[in-house]
């Protein structure tokens, strides 16, 4: 929280709003070396998560959403990393570039992450209880540890009667494994949970159960969630606000209701039109696929697939922020009234500052 004063100098928002910001990602750029090419996995990504907020990051596979999440918790593949630029401020601590020991300390009690494939993140040779015990703070008595493990499993929706703590990961079903991972993530009592496609591998019934558990944890513990998914149904069910990512960039930011009812970016609109139950109404349907992130030109990255593309789109497009706090990276947003509004800010920072403002609400 020490950086609150620094924040107030950068942004003209009130101190109360700064306190509410748990995670701030500013201008995050991640480039990776893949063979002899440079993959721009994330470019100038700005996003914020307030305390106790549930924020969605939605995009197709290859849009860079997982890279953003991994950068936040410091799980980037260092071997391949070409450059990683920007700021990730989590609960007042700058996370980027911390040495691993300090990074571990910075994560504790602040952030935990759960993944799509719990099987590959749980240790197959250890009982679930032992794995959770490792994540608990040191200096607890044996009985206390056992009680805490049981309590955590119960919070994750695994009642004590099942004896999950004595079992190995392979003895659990997919839904139980994901719950065990949630219990593990809760062990350090984090303020922010990053959930990367937490229910993609699960059946619809189990998916609904696991999401309900996450929602309860969000509501009861006041834990903020950054939910990364490609599933717009999950977003609609869970999130207060949404960022839409396309080809390594955030193309739209909005609260969930407005995003679904009045999508501003053509990509978002067409993505919503691709949903099976909207098909009959949808006149614009997405063709083609996400561009190769190692061969991006300048200009709007959605241009090749966009039905409204014009010459203007060849220039780089900033995220245009409207007075109501919504933002979209598209020239179509430049209606005269909005243009006047976005001109208020300094021109050269048109990309950064309003984007951050957009999510302050």
């Amino acid at each position: 929280m020490s950086s609150t004063s620094a924040d107030t100098s950068t942004f003209s928002s009130t101190a109360a709003e700064d306190d509410a910001k748990l995670l701030e990602v500013r201008g995050l750029t991640v480039h990776l070396n893949v063979r002899d090419r440079v993959v721009k996995a994330a470019d100038n990504v700005n996003l914020e998560v307030g305390a106790g907020e549930c924020v969605g990051l939605v995009g197709e596979s290859g849009s860079g959403k997982t890279m953003v999440a991994r950068t936040i918790v410091g799980l980037l593949p260092t071997v391949r990393l070409k450059c990683c630029d920007g700021e990730v401020v989590l609960d007042g601590t700058e996370m980027l570039g911390l040495p691993s020991k300090e990074l571990r300390r910075a994560r504790r009690g602040r952030v935990s992450m759960i993944f799509q494939e719990p099987t590959s993140y749980l240790n197959p040779t250890m009982r679930i209880g032992t794995q959770i015990a490792e994540a608990l703070p040191s200096g607890l008595g044996r009985m206390e540890v056992e009680d805490r493990i049981k309590a955590l499993l119960a919070q994750a929706g695994l009642p004590p009667g099942l004896g999950i703590e004595r079992r190995y990961p392979h003895q659990l079903s997919g839904g139980m494994k994901q719950r065990a991972m949630i219990a593990l993530a809760l062990a350090s009592n984090p303020k922010l949970l990053i959930a990367d496609e937490p229910t993609t591998a699960l059946d619809v019934t189990v998916q609904a159960q696991v999401l309900r558990t996450l929602k309860h944890l969000h509501q009861e513990r006041g834990m903020a969630i950054l939910l990364i998914t490609h599933d717009l149904g999950v977003i609609a069910e869970m999130c207060d606000r949404v960022y839409v990512m396309y080809a390594g960039e955030i193309v739209e930011a909005a609260d969930t209701m407005s995003l679904f009812e009045d999508p501003r970016h053509p990509y978002t609109r067409m993505l919503l039109n691709s949903l099976p139950h909207k098909r009959h109404e949808g006149e614009e349907v997405l063709k083609g696929s996400i561009p190769d992130l190692s061969m991006l030109g300048s200009g709007c990255r959605f241009m090749p697939r966009c039905p409204h593309a014009s010459e203007v789109c060849r220039d780089e497009q900033p995220l245009r922020v409207r007075t109501d706090g919504r933002a979209a990276r598209c020239v179509l947003e430049d209606s005269p009234a909005d243009r006047a509004a976005s001109n208020k800010g300094p021109q050269h920072r048109g990309d950064d500052a309003p984007a951050s403002r957009a999510v302050v609400r």
Partner: protein, 355 residues
């Protein structure tokens, strides 16, 4: 057990089924607990006495959670596995008793598209050979120019245009959607009557799913091909299927036309399944507190007594754990396997979203 009744109301579809499963069962042997004389084996019935019929130019969807026997049923329908009981009939004849010629007809008429094209396409073959081999196999001797023309025509059919860009590529050089298009191209090369598609969309992104759905729909209209669509995605099923079969633990628990099953589902399992679907509609999500079913599909090795769904069923009574239910005919085409369907206001306790 008969899922699709042969009664007068079927008159709307006068043609005979292309493919039918009549009371088929499938038994797997699974490793069980370790006993005194080594590991015991358990026999599990992955598909238990299932009857389904697929009519020409119709999309029949099979839905259910994983582990309910959907894929096993598909494999049985394709003749990839021998049923332990019952029979698969192709145009009214048991596929095990087909003459050599009829067998050839069967394999030509019924094609398959798998979930993961990367593992179902030969990684060492370029697209022109993947398709070309089938053209050569079924199309007989063609002049080189006619042959090339045919291969390119098929690729155009699945919207891989211009074909010359794709001919020389290996499966790993294609995107997920393009690979699935090649898999579909393989299936339509022989101009089949029926394509069994096992989760053809679940490995794809939403936008690509939409494109592949459109392709499947177009092929159905243009070539009169029918589908057996296996999917866990009820939104997809809702948008493309004509009839739906809901499976739970190897049994068909409900079947009917797509409107019957989605608009007035009768089986508690179907209702719970529909209630779990997350719709991309935040307004609806906020209004509704879902009633979720608890637990997961039990192991086939320990199938619950009586009605298989009773341990998870919100409206189960004592009778459900003892007596095996029989089919309840809701209408001529709509059947549910449940003790309590007939009782007024019981299954309605499980809320379903309005479609």
């Amino acid at each position: 057990m008969t899922v699709v009744e042969k009664d007068p109301s079927r008159a709307s579809a006068p043609s005979a089924p292309v493919l039918a499963a009549r009371g088929v069962s499938c038994v797997y042997t699974q490793a069980g607990d370790v006993g005194v004389f080594g590991r015991k084996t358990v026999k599990v019935r992955a598909v238990d006495d299932v009857t389904v019929e697929i009519f020409p130019n119709e999309t029949l969807a099979i839905v259910g959670e994983s582990g309910c026997g959907k894929t096993t049923l598909a494999r049985l329908l394709l003749g990839l596995m021998k049923p332990a009981g019952g029979a698969i009939e192709f145009r009214g004849k048991d596929i095990r008793k087909l003459s050599r010629q009829d067998q050839e007809k069967f394999h030509k008429a019924v094609q398959v598209v798998f979930q993961d094209p990367l593992s179902s396409l030969n990684p060492r073959m370029q697209v022109h050979r993947i398709i070309g081999d089938i053209v050569r196999l079924w199309g007989g001797k063609l002049a080189p120019s006619a042959f090339n023309h045919r291969v390119q025509q098929i690729l155009r059919e699945v919207e891989l245009t211009p074909p010359r860009l794709f001919l020389e590529r290996f499966p790993h050089e294609l995107s997920g959607g393009q690979r699935q298009r090649v898999a579909i191209a393989k299936a339509i090369t022989v101009e089949p009557d029926l394509i069994v598609a096992d989760e053809p969309l679940s490995a794809l992104d939403v936008s690509v799913q939409g494109q592949i759905l459109d392709l499947l729909r177009r092929l159905k209209e243009e070539f009169g091909v029918g589908y057996v669509l296996i999917s866990h995605d009820l939104e997809v099923v809702r948008s493309v299927a004509d009839r739906v079969v809901v499976m739970y633990l190897g049994k068909v628990v409900e079947s009917g036309t797509v409107d019957e099953v989605f608009e007035s589902p009768r089986h508690p399992y179907t209702r719970s399944l529909l209630g779990s679907v997350l719709r991309a509609d935040p307004r609806a999500a906020k209004q509704r507190e879902r009633t979720l079913i608890s637990g997961e599909v039990p192991s086939l090795a320990s199938v619950p007594s009586g009605c298989r769904f009773h341990p998870r069923c919100p409206v189960a009574v004592d009778r459900c754990s003892v007596e095996v239910p029989v089919d309840f005919k809701v209408s001529g085409t709509h059947v549910a396997l449940c003790h309590r369907v007939g009782e007024a206001g019981v299954v309605e306790q499980i809320e379903v979203p309005v479609y």
